[in-house]
């Protein structure tokens, strides 16, 4: 395990992604400690262009956009993380159960997974979001997670059902290991790298999904996320007013976050998939 982490640190792609992401996390953690103002406080006129005092100008309510952006990135990262955890956990459990147990349960779970793959998850996302009255960022993240697990489940199932018939699993069985222990020690280590990769991808797509749904005005209430900043810019006609600073930095932040996550994923893919490495 340590060995693969060490190779990973040598991969330029992974390192680029990781450094970008860590840098961004660092900034959004530290900046609110320095600038203790409320991001929703109106401190300037509407759509003030960037200057030395307001780094990214102000929005339609005269709020500091740079501060908003920092809080927005923080929320978006949180939403991505929670959505990724939900999607990976559900996908992992369903995939492991269906791949390891096999038989009727496998058929049933595969059918459920396929149904979820066929229905466009964004539509479910919109429908659930509309029908829930109080949406916190956590609830939105959970909904995103619950609608995006099927691909992980499918891949984990495929890997598990091929591992299940390997001799080391049989040896573990006749050595008296219980089923949870076999899954924990004989199956999971072999698919761990894949699960980590799937988690990173799902975090990226979670951030994108949150941005999309917030732009439609169906995102979380009482918070600032990158999607919500874009929604405000859209609703209050920032593009018409020529206030590029109201939406381009937010869009760029989404791009940079997902780019860094995809870079990490590609880096890991090259390490864990020797066919691509050579």
């Amino acid at each position: 395990m340590n060995h693969s982490v060490r190779i990973l640190l040598k991969s330029p792609k992974f390192m680029l992604g990781a450094v970008l992401l860590l840098l961004m996390i660092g900034v959004v953690m530290i900046y609110p400690l320095i600038n203790r103002n409320d991001p929703l406080e109106m401190i300037a006129l509407a759509y003030q262009p960037p200057d030395s005092k307001l780094l990214l100008g102000s929005d339609n309510f005269g709020r500091d956009l740079f501060l908003e952006l920092i809080y927005g990135i923080r929320t978006s990262l949180q939403v991505g993380l929670i959505a990724g955890v939900f999607a990976t956990a559900i996908g992992l459990v369903i995939g492991l159960a269906s791949g390891y147990i096999g038989g009727m349960i496998d058929n049933l779970l595969t059918a459920v997974t396929n149904i979820f793959i066929v229905i466009p998850s964004f539509v479910i996302l919109i429908l659930i979001s509309v029908s829930i009255d109080s949406r916190s960022s956590f609830v939105t993240a959970a909904i995103i997670g619950i609608t995006s697990w099927p691909w992980t489940a499918r891949a984990v199932r495929a890997q598990t059902s091929s591992l299940r018939n390997r001799d080391h699993v049989n040896i573990a069985k006749i050595s008296g290991y219980s089923t949870p222990r076999i899954i924990m020690y004989e199956i999971l280590p072999y698919i761990a790298s894949y699960v980590v990769m799937a988690f990173v991808l799902q975090m990226a797509s979670g951030i994108l999904a949150e941005a999309s749904i917030s732009m439609l005005g169906l995102g979380p209430y009482n918070t600032i996320s990158l999607g919500i900043i874009m929604n405000w810019a859209l609703v209050f006609e920032a593009p018409v007013a020529g206030a590029w600073w109201a939406f381009i930095p937010a869009a760029l932040s989404i791009a940079v976050i997902t780019f860094s996550l995809y870079m990490m994923n590609t880096g890991m893919d090259e390490i864990f998939n020797p066919k691509i490495r050579s």
Partner: protein, 266 residues
């Protein structure tokens, strides 16, 4: 070494995979009686159902119909505790040493697991002593191995470690599923000799699964010839080889390459 005490017996064992149109009968109405200290070879070509039969005896596959009795009693495998007890008596060596190891753990763990399965409470020194003993039985040096990962070993070394595992567990019944087919010729004879030594020292029953009639004749007391899920011929090794009754057995015997004769490939 063969005694008359029946260790394990199966009656009308059948295993069917799939259902409907995709039904395949891997093992078809097989009955057997294996005695204590006996070496039995199950011989057949690929797909003849010998590994499926072995897995049913091991308790890794559930039989579709028929029953297996162990030590005169129908075996119970419903609960995990029952299976654990059964596996104290019945152990296996598999064909592919490279996939028999979990590549994430050091060799030492495999041997420590054996001590755990037996439920022995031993001090650190006693554990070490036991593992060293097992390694020296298979001509390996514990000091050189215990800190290594499986992929740092050769196939022969891995397979010998699997035998060391059996040595530590000393089960009543060992199922060896083509244990020599993936190791080179030199290791092959050492591995066979080790298996015979295990039988002689512990009075172990060995079920030897192979596609090689010559090898089977060399090691075993009793032969079972399998073709397409059915046992077509069985009996003492000498009888089966010298007076084969079934055409399939005759063909298997004539297919053995001989060193001093021209090989008829027609």
């Amino acid at each position: 070494m063969k005694t008359n005490e029946v260790l394990i017996s199966g009656k009308h064992l059948t295993k069917v995979f799939g259902y409907g149109k995709h039904k395949t009968t891997a093992v078809d109405d097989v009955s057997f009686e294996f005695h204590k200290g006996e070496i039995i070879s199950i011989v057949g070509e690929s797909g003849s159902g010998k590994t499926t039969l072995a897995k049913m005896i091991m308790g890794l596959l559930k039989e579709s119909s028929g029953s297996i009795s162990y030590m005169g009693k129908p075996r119970q495998l419903k609960r995990h505790a029952d299976r654990k007890k059964y596996w104290k008596h019945i152990q296996a060596i598999f064909q592919d040493p490279f996939s028999s190891f979990n590549q994430f753990y050091k060799v030492e763990k495999l041997l420590l697991d054996c001590i755990r399965l037996q439920g022995l409470k031993l001090s650190k020194e006693e554990q070490l002593q036991k593992m060293k003993e097992a390694c020296s039985f298979v001509n390996l040096k514990y000091e050189e191995l215990h800190n290594k990962y499986p992929f740092e070993l050769s196939g022969g070394q891995m397979q010998r470690l699997m035998i060391a595992r059996i040595f530590m567990l000393h089960p009543q019944l060992l199922i060896a599923d083509e244990p020599t087919s993936m190791v080179d010729a030199c290791s092959r004879s050492t591995i066979l000799d080790m298996l015979l030594k295990l039988r002689d020292e512990n009075g172990m029953t060995i079920i030897f699964i192979t596609h090689d009639v010559g090898l089977a004749y060399y090691v075993s007391d009793t032969l079972y010839i399998m073709e397409r899920g059915k046992v077509v011929e069985s009996g003492p090794a000498e009888d089966v080889i010298i007076h084969p009754q079934h055409p399939y057995t005759r063909q298997l015997i004539s297919d053995v390459p001989k060193v001093h004769e021209a090989w008829d490939l027609s």
